[in-house]
Symmetry: C2
Subunit: 230 residues, 2 copies
């Protein structure tokens, strides 16, 4: 496999995908066209507008972009594509769309055959085992929470440390992930913004400038450094 | 109906349910025992320990508490109870438990017949039309997102304004609710901590010290004052 699962598409104050540019040139080496999966629709943006946003970035590295929503036969489109990018937004919307059109498995099979995949935020969640560690609001009801399982754990994108100054009793991110572990025996990778997971064949590492927080059942959470294997 | 749907059980720096004490004496007037529904299990606490926490508070206003998990026949327990309290925690866990044991409708029917109900946080979410505006992590897969619909709208508990100082690209609460409105034509009440919804017969008002933010499809969000009808 040859994949990147990133916490976010955009660093604070940065431009779309800019911080990942060198990585993406490497990821998509030898490929001149990819399919963009716009179904997560951040902020309710249209599939066309979202695809245009991806296209604008990928033009700068000479890769053409087609939106998956443009194809009548989406299964065929996925099977014939050379590589993929799934943008962020709402994971429930994304997963509902992929399952209802029976595309989750098709996409998984193609990526497992070696075609490059980039996911950001919701697009990274679907690379995990399930979407049960998304931060998103359940605005629609998907037929299942199962995802592609491109890595043997779950991902929490945009991982955020507790803010001791917040006078608010909503749950912290850590509390939420610990609640997940009371119901599921599965490793969770808390991926801070600026970090990403890189899988090349069977080697899975975490990359980027920040430490990464790992949660496992019946263990205290712990931090690993960039470059560590997962 | 005679219900309170509160944003939170506990104000920052306060004791459990303390800020609602006078309201609860009024809500449960004439009643000396209620059923506590502990299924949301905040932080993975046991049903027994969570019920004990509720019991400690209700002792101070001379109301006995039985945990719903203590009954073999939960339908009968709900039908025979005089009043209810559903505590906060994880809404997905709560809704999964209630649907799988066919208790959502039974509880709804009893509350609609006039028995008093208090919900906090997740317990308030289930008073709305659906749980699609919860903030919680989808740690388990419920058979449906439908809730009791004790009020003709959805609730977002612990409503939190955007923090302009946060250098983080995760979605704000407002962004999430606006995404909900792209997929659902339903009013959402953004209930800040310290506020609650009060329904007495057919009159529904919002109460507490804060303004309340209302979201409707194709409208700019707006604020209403405490005491306003919903």
């Amino acid at each position: 496999m040859n994949i990147i699962l990133a916490s976010t598409s955009t660093l604070f104050g940065g431009a779309y995908l800019e911080y990942l540019k060198e990585e993406l040139i490497n990821l998509y080496h030898g490929i001149d066209e990819i399919i963009f999966i716009p179904f997560a629709r951040p902020g309710g943006i249209s599939h066309d507008d979202y695809t245009e946003k991806a296209r604008s970035f990928f033009e700068t590295i000479n890769i053409k972009v087609k939106g998956l929503h443009e194809f009548d036969n989406k299964t065929e489109a996925i099977n014939e594509a050379e590589g993929y990018f799934t943008g962020g937004g709402n994971t429930f919307l994304l997963v509902k769309n992929l399952h209802e059109e029976n595309l989750m498995k098709i996409l998984k099979q193609n990526i497992e055959s070696g075609k490059p995949y980039l996911g950001c935020s919701a697009g990274s969640n679907i690379g995990g085992q399930t979407m049960k560690t998304t931060n998103d609001m359940p605005i629609v009801y998907p037929p299942s929470f199962d995802c592609m399982g491109l890595v043997p754990f779950n991902i929490n994108p945009h991982y955020l440390d507790p803010n001791p100054e917040l006078r608010h009793n909503g749950e912290t991110r850590e509390t939420r992930i610990k609640e997940f572990l009371t119901q599921n025996d599965m490793k969770v990778v808390g991926l801070r913004e600026g970090n990403w997971i890189r899988r090349i064949n069977d080697t899975i590492t975490v990359e980027g400038n920040e430490l990464t927080r790992i949660f496992e059942k019946d263990k205290e959470p712990y931090e690993i450094e960039s470059g560590s294997q997962l």
